[in-house]
């Protein structure tokens, strides 16, 4: 009799667990498939936590090679090849003149850009590239009333030395 009670108790416990799991699973499914817009947090709280480093834009393909810059996944020649293949030409239709390619820390790259953020820790290795134009400024997102008629004289770009992704690019008068 006691064994029967024990079996019944175990079965009851098992049934409760199963019902609980089913209820939890269906709630979770509803939560995932809900079309209700998520709660929008106070902007001042959003800078806490999360991944602070977006991957950047896919640009130079990283690869292992003895020719790579120390600590980097590509070489100066890879930068030149990328610019020749995928870079935007000058408004004269000629390839841009490369003024410099430097593998530096994010802090050094930021200093080269007058304090512009690279979006990586200060000691992170990046590749800073400076190009001579003239370059079209089409596509710049500036407030209405700002004229984009005059070409930019030069451009700089910063690539993640590990991934080859473009982190930030600038156009200058």
């Amino acid at each position: 009799m006691n064994r029967l009670k024990l079996r019944f108790g175990i079965l009851l416990l098992f049934a409760i667990v199963v019902v609980g799991v089913v209820a939890f699973t269906s709630q979770s499914t509803r939560a995932v498939t809900s079309t209700k817009p998520p709660h929008v947090p106070d902007p001042s709280s959003m800078f806490q936590g999360g991944n602070p480093y977006p991957p950047g834009g896919t640009a130079i393909s990283p690869h292992a090679s003895a020719n790579n810059a120390p600590g980097a996944a590509f070489s100066q020649q890879d930068v030149i090849d990328f610019l020749n293949k995928d870079g935007e030409p000058t408004t004269n239709g000629t390839p841009p003149k490369i003024l410099s390619i430097q593998f530096v820390t994010a802090k050094q790259a930021s200093d080269l850009m007058q304090g512009e953020s690279v979006g990586r820790p200060d000691n992170y290795l990046v590749c800073y590239v400076k190009l001579q134009g003239p370059f079209s400024r089409r596509g710049e997102h500036v407030p209405s009333g700002v004229s984009l008629e005059k070409d930019a004289a030069w451009e700089d770009m910063v690539f993640d030395a590990s991934t080859g992704n473009l982190l930030v690019g600038g156009l200058h008068p």
């Binding site: 998520p38 800078f47 977006p54 834009g57 512009e116 089409r138 710049e140 209405s144 473009l166 156009l171």
Partner: protein, 174 residues
């Protein structure tokens, strides 16, 4: 400035070079001739990718708690896809002195060929009113130039019970 833009395959600031792309970006037009810098944040897909699954919570606010004037700005993004958090990034615009005095709501379309932009709704419009975030209570001033895109207040903001900053809609179906 932050938002969503399309880029030709070889256009600078593309988030996926070699492909026509639709990207999320943020940019700062720096003071004292410091130039224009743009950061690729997220690749949404190619041209024509549907943005319907996404809710984008993109914010810029001062880093030091001083909301009237500062030179460091936190740029944060929460991207929701189908109701779930898909990406979250926090960046900074540094050495960039500004004193914000207005909010501008709307969209812009620039292109060298024909383009369209589906309806975009701007809701829960807020600004920092000294010690807290306040909902927009007036329709403001129309500063649009040479539409499209067209825009209108689908729900007017008001200084009234239940106001949540109105809903401004833009579209370009020309």
């Amino acid at each position: 400035v932050r938002g969503i833009s399309t880029y030709d395959a070889n256009q600078r600031f593309n988030c996926h070079y070699g492909y026509n792309s639709t990207c999320m970006y943020w940019a700062d037009n720096r003071p004292n001739g410091g130039g224009y810098y743009e950061h690729a944040v997220y690749t949404l897909g190619g041209y024509g990718v549907s943005l319907d699954p996404y809710l984008i919570d993109f914010a810029v606010h001062s880093a030091g708690g001083n909301y009237t004037s500062t030179n460091t700005w936190n740029v944060s993004l929460n991207l929701y896809a189908n109701g779930s958090l898909a990406a979250q990034f926090n960046q900074q615009s540094t050495n960039n002195q500004m004193s914000p005095s207005t909010i501008t709501i709307g969209s812009e379309v620039s292109d060298t060929h024909a383009s369209t932009s589906d309806h975009t709704d701007y809701q829960y419009n807020q600004w920092y009113c000294g010690s807290a975030w306040c909902y927009q209570t007036t329709t403001g001033t129309d500063t649009s130039t040479s539409p499209p895109p067209y825009g209108y207040w689908r729900i007017n903001p008001c200084n009234c019970q239940g106001n949540t900053g109105g809903a401004f809609t833009t579209y370009d179906h020309s």
